[in-house]
Symmetry: C2
Subunit: 199 residues, 2 copies
Amino acid sequence: MARKTGSHSEITGPKIKQSALELFARYGFAAVTMRQIAARVGVQAGAIYNYTPDKQALLFDLLHGNMADLLTRWGEEQVPSNPVAALDHFVAFHLDFHIQRPQLVFISYMELRNLTEENFKAIEEKRSRYEKIVYDMILKGVRSGDFQVPDAKITSFALLATLTGVVNWFREDGRLSSEELTRQYCALARQTLGVNALA
Amino acid sequence: MARKTGSHSEITGPKIKQSALELFARYGFAAVTMRQIAARVGVQAGAIYNYTPDKQALLFDLLHGNMADLLTRWGEEQVPSNPVAALDHFVAFHLDFHIQRPQLVFISYMELRNLTEENFKAIEEKRSRYEKIVYDMILKGVRSGDFQVPDAKITSFALLATLTGVVNWFREDGRLSSEELTRQYCALARQTLGVNALA
DNA sequence: ATATTAACTGAACCAGCGTTCAGATCAATG
DNA sequence: CATTGATCTGAACGCTGGTTCAGTTAATAT
């Protein structure tokens, strides 16, 4: 037997991506086999190659799609001009985006070294674009006097590490709702950036 | 030919650990082969098994040794009783420890999922011991009124993420010396913990 | 000088890897 | 109903993986 009843490109394609994502997140890219991915889709390994040229492309598409999505969505946001409001807005955006795709976020900074040099550069370029957004936002607040930080660059790294680190422990059914989480982190971020409470 | 001139157990043993560490840090545990490690030591793959039962043990020994080292050293520290001074002390300690072993730190939270379930638990147990130290330190400062934070648990995660994230970008020959780095991060940590400047 | 042993080689084992492809099957088209 | 093309199977390919081990060598002890 070969082709199964009801098999369809529009179903198998996304299923492969999804299965690869789940397995990469759980076991790591290098430890996952094409046969494992296929089994989860309910297909033989060879069928995967109708949808992707190779395993590497499977990883790259996931990471690249994620970064592109992140930048696109931020581009669509209406960012307040007031630095403190902008900070709140960014914190909420970043947390929301990351909490909604924990696996994607996880492999996005876990599997970077399994990318081809060329593919790595493409991701890295997008990533530094995002880092620059944060840095510029902080710089603006420092210049306006709304923020007070020891070092703008270090603070930008600290803020990103803090926010992204959330995926390591946050669970939808945990102690905090995502709304509370956002509120807490906005307060924390303001404190870290030295926002004067009286402003 | 077999045994090489000048070959010695006391040399080969550490060399294997060191080579494994470097390769795991660079390419990831799953992507590194025993033959690669052996080649870097200047030995055949089979010789490695005189020093370790298997590849898994090679990884576990590195991670476990690192955590044990971390806890032991913190235990030897003389921690000030004043909460703010204790915070500064912890920041300096954590940064110093992590900057001195960037590769070990890197694999310590990159390769956790490549551990056996049993081995994972052993590491996890030590890790939460360390997290508890930070949490307790923050709680103490909050109770004494030295710290003001939105949420002690979240703040402890944020502080650890911030400090540990340093290894992702810090270079010995970069813009900042390690002394300056410590100073900046102490200031940042105080701000994050809401230390009253007038206290 | 001889015997003993720790340290290592080199070759092999088998399982599993990513990938390819001829052929089978089903859905859609006319 | 016959044909076509997209979709998938099943088996194979060459290779490499971790691990084992009989045998070789060099250092040490006698």
